[in-house]
């Protein structure tokens, strides 16, 4: 029982990080119908910005953890958003009206470019960070197994839930959210009725990047080791999560992320670790066989 609880905690923590990245994929797909394969690299860049910010703060002598965390969070969100905005402006906007394949290849190109850019700038070696927040609660001792819930895992959960609430409010209650929903329904019609499409798309990239930046910071705090290649694996998993939850659906992305994290943890717990990715992808295939639009995706209605 304690063991199951521990594995659920492991899985949910991992799943929240996947979910935050997955929202970026799903939002961009919802509006312009392209898969932004460079999104995983934004997550990686965010992790690098976070580690650099921590080092700078360390040099500046700001050691009080809550303040340091807030500063790092703000700096990372800001700078990663700039990357996200620039990515759209430089690589995707000029190709807005070209065939979808061109945009897709550009996205893959940008992904390779950003990876190599960080590798050249920061070196290929891993970058470690000593634990910033350590310690946690121990509870549920059933004889031999003690469940550990670290402060960091609580922080990740609180931050993720808070971000989701703010984000849902933005989508449903603000002018920006209204334009986003309009663009999602029909890009051309939205522009005809006065929605500033370019601005909406730019802001979508900015929001996606800032969510990925929170994921990057959490990843750095949780595992303490990053390298220029982390964006690839995390990107693939998050993209899978977005498809599983139904690409285009924002709650679906979070649900998909949590599911992938839980499947990986629980499969590792009760079956062989070697096949955990096989398990995750098999479930994806099964879901797509029975629900081609994913768990929460809306089926495309043919307009006649």
């Amino acid at each position: 029982m304690g063991y199951l609880l521990q594995q659920l905690i492991n899985g949910i923590t991992l799943g929240m990080i996947y979910g935050l990245i997955a929202i970026g994929y799903t939002m961009v797909y919802g509006i312009i119908g392209m898969i932004n394969f460079a999104h995983g690299e934004l997550f990686m860049i965010a992790a690098f910005i976070s580690i650099i910010s921590f080092l700078v703060l360390g040099l500046a002598g700001i050691g009080w953890v809550p303040v340091a965390l807030l500063i790092v969070l703000a700096a990372t969100m800001l700078l990663t958003s700039v990357y996200g905005w620039a990515l759209e402006r430089v690589a995707y906007r000029p190709l807005r009206h070209s065939p979808r394949l061109a945009a897709l290849i550009t996205a893959i190109g940008m992904s390779i470019f950003l990876q190599n850019y960080v590798q050249l700038l920061q070196g290929a070696r891993i970058k470690p960070l000593q634990p910033v927040i350590s310690g946690g609660f121990q509870f549920f001792t059933d004889g031999k197994f003690t469940v550990t819930l670290s402060y960091l895992q609580i922080l990740i959960a609180v931050l993720t839930v808070a971000l989701m609430l703010v984000f849902t409010w933005v989508i449903n209650r603000t002018a920006l959210g209204r334009s986003q929903r309009a663009c999602q329904q029909d890009l051309k019609m939205a522009s005809l009725v006065g929605v500033n499409v370019d601005r909406t798309i730019s802001l979508t990239f900015v929001i996606g990047a800032s969510l990925a930046s929170v994921a990057g910071l959490m990843f750095l705090l949780l595992y303490g080791v990053i390298d220029f290649f982390i964006g690839f694996l995390a990107g693939i998993k998050a993209f899978t999560a977005a498809v599983l939850g139904g690409i285009g659906s924002i709650p679906g992305a979070m649900l998909g992320g949590l599911l992938i994290g839980l499947i990986e943890a629980l499969w590792s717990a009760y079956f062989t670790v070697e096949y955990k990715d096989v398990a995750a992808f098999s479930i994806l295939v099964l879901v797509l066989v029975f629900r081609p639009t994913g768990l929460l995706g809306k089926p495309d209605i043919e307009k006649v």
């Binding site: 521990q6 121990q138 003690t146 990843f219 303490g224 080791v225 390298d227 694996l233 070697e274």
Partner: protein, 367 residues
Amino acid sequence: MKRLFAVCLTAAAAMLGTSTVSAEILISTAGPMTGQYASFGEQMKRGAEMAVRDINAKGGVLGQKLELTIGDDACDPKQAVAVANKFVSQGVQFVAGHFCSGSSIPASKVYSEENVLQISPASTNPKLTDEGDANVFRVCGRDDQQGIVAGEFLATKYGSKKIAILHDKTAYGKGLADETKKALNGAGISEAMYEAYTAGEKDYSALVSKMKQAGVDVFYLGGYHTEAGLMIRQAREQSYNVQLVSGDALVTDEFWKITGNSGAGTLMTFSPDPRKNPNAAPVVKKFRDTGYEPEGYTLYTYGAIQAWAQAAERAGTTNTQRVIRALRAGQFDTVLGKIGFDNKGDVTAPGYVWYEWKGGTYDYVSN
């Protein structure tokens, strides 16, 4: 267009021409210069550069200067073959490489077809020399030796405890884990868990919880330092005091950078530390003067190049077949001590000893 093509061809031919006609002997080292094992690539690069500089300062080999070229295989078997082909086309005479067994083995096929000599400073999988041709040598130990040392140690020291064996599915990691398992089972003890994980991931918390649930007291890891470090760090975060025992792929200070103090007490096998070898003292000092600590495989790469240079001097030529005969026949004074090679190409030096990580560095286990 046609004329442009012709010009390109001529230019290419001219470039090829200069590299083969030049009076220098081209040698190379190859390893993971990028990627997550890049710290080992750096060890090899530093060792090779220093060796070439020192040999050239003494007049080179057979009166010719050495020129070093460096290949990056990123520990990827496919890239290793590409690097090997590139070396062959450049006219490289001798390769001190590669690092990962999974790279050395496929690359060795290319070298043997093209008659290039290979001495690996670091690849420990038995298959490299068992299945390799006459042109393959190594100055490090073998995983069947290392596995026996590890398995017997686990059996005597932790025989009454629960032991897990993990590997990362690579030629090196799985090979080492299986040899250790064989030796452990041979001593009449069976492991409580045998699992494979995927290298390159960062989250091993599920695997750590699984070991904790199974009550594993000590786990043996066939794999590299990044994953070993992450596992031990994540175990400590779950307040799980498991003992890590592993092999020679932990000999880099990056391991400690990942674990911090939670890495203290980690045990590993590695060949006797050449830095403590009196013959190596001047070289070690030279490295330290440049601000670099010659840890891990740095001196092994240095020693591999020394052995080749001395064999070539004795053979009186850099002809691969004659150098091979000289390598088999003689003893060589290197920073690794006096070494020779057996018929398979394995080094006849002492095997493996135990090290413990403590305070950011590793040293012999004090008994």
